[in-house]
């Protein structure tokens, strides 16, 4: 099996994540789409670490995981804060700046 298969799988997952961000309206599901994209990027890092025989790819994937964890904490806190004031988790309802 060619290792390109992993890269194709990662591309598919990234595409589905991006599609989720574009199509879904629930802010939490949109956020899960972002997580899926980060995971797909991690799979590419791990695969290339193996292709090039260099552990640095795995280290970068590790840092991506840490930053993603921090991002989830802040993002979900923002969603909770918005939900408290607007009583909605839909991204369409956050339109205060619309003229």
């Amino acid at each position: 099996m060619n290792l390109t298969n992993y890269l194709v799988l990662a591309s598919l997952l990234f595409t589905i994540g991006a599609l989720t961000v574009l199509v879904r309206r629930n802010a939490i599901i949109v956020f899960m789409g972002v997580e899926l994209m980060l995971n797909a990027a991690n799979l590419v890092f791990v695969t290339f670490a193996r292709i090039h025989g260099d552990l640095t790819g795995q280290v970068v994937a590790f840092f991506v995981m840490v930053v993603a964890a921090a991002e989830v904490v802040v993002g979900l806190a923002i969603i909770v804060a918005i939900y408290r004031t607007r009583r909605s988790a839909s991204v369409d309802d956050v339109n205060l700046l619309r003229s």
Binding site: V8, T15, R50, M65, A69, V73, A77
Partner: protein
């Protein structure tokens, strides 16, 4: 921990120095469709909890793929951080923010959904075509780097070349934790109403300080709906539950009197008007 690493080692043996073995091929072709289907569940699931479950499936499968790809440390970190912490956080917030609120499927902009789907498919096509141009790569494999166990090799790089990045990431984590606390913190606008404030308000408001009288207990009737008699023999209105009074289900003393009307004449009937001895 040793057991996990040993199990990881078995899976890692699937990949013998960069060449994929049959075992890994079977694993990949089993997991890849599962992952893609679960990821599609994220796009199409009506309920947010189903979406969270399907993304958890993707994350666990990714952990297995990491282990098969000679990254057992990342595989375990993936399980602990993503499925253990991140997905739990997602589920907590889902439960907090209305798990029953169905996603609206009405477009804010006309046709936005179809344009988005088209762009998404285009992005996928571009990515996959770029990846496919890289066919014929000869993987080197990580056998040399993983000679001393994978976590050791990763730790050498993290605490060697990337130690400054690690410290910056530590600051980022602390900042994120403080930021989450600040964002979800609620400033109290009015003074907290505790037990003392409630008691003071009750005394200042006048009225009865004691608990309300219990409804009357009569042998021949269900006493919950009949008022008790006060010291002066009059029925006490507030002894009957407010719910029953609002529904109009309370009964007067006179009705109870009618039911116990055939008692011996020597026994004084309760009329509500007579004096209690």
């Amino acid at each position: 921990m040793n057991g996990i690493l040993a199990a990881a080692g078995v899976l890692t043996d699937l990949a013998e120095t960069g060449r994929t073995s049959t075992g890994e091929e079977v694993l990949f072709w089993f997991l890849a469709p599962v992952m893609v289907l679960a990821a599609l569940g994220l796009v199409f699931a009506r309920r947010a909890v189903y979406a969270a479950m399907s993304i958890a499936v993707v994350m666990v499968s990714l952990a297995v793929l990491y282990v098969a790809q000679e990254a057992p440390f990342l595989g375990i970190v993936q399980v602990i951080v993503y499925t253990g912490a991140v997905m739990m956080l997602f589920l907590f917030v889902l439960m907090l923010v209305g798990v029953d609120s169905a996603d609206s499927f009405t477009d804010a902009l006309a046709g936005q959904r179809w344009i988005a789907a088209l762009l998404g498919i285009g992005l996928g096509a571009v990515l996959i075509s770029v990846v496919l141009t890289a066919r014929g790569m000869q993987p080197i494999g990580l056998a040399a780097d993983n000679a001393e166990a994978n976590p050791v090799g990763v730790a050498r790089i993290i605490f060697g070349d990337y130690v400054f990045t690690l410290e910056v990431v530590g600051i980022l984590l602390v900042t994120a934790a403080v930021g989450a606390i600040v964002l979800t913190h609620r400033q109290r606008l009015v003074r907290r109403v505790g037990q003392k404030e409630r008691a003071d308000a009750r005394v200042a408001g006048g009225g009865s300080l004691t608990p309300l009288p219990a409804p009357g207990v009569y042998a021949r009737s269900n006493a919950m709906d009949v008022a008790a008699l006060g010291a002066d023999g009059r029925p006490l209105e507030q002894s009957v539950s407010r719910v029953l009074r609002v529904r109009g289900q309370e009964r007067s003393i006179a009705e109870v009197h009618a039911q116990i009307g055939d008692v011996p004449a020597t026994t004084p009937a309760i009329t509500g008007e007579e004096q209690v001895r």
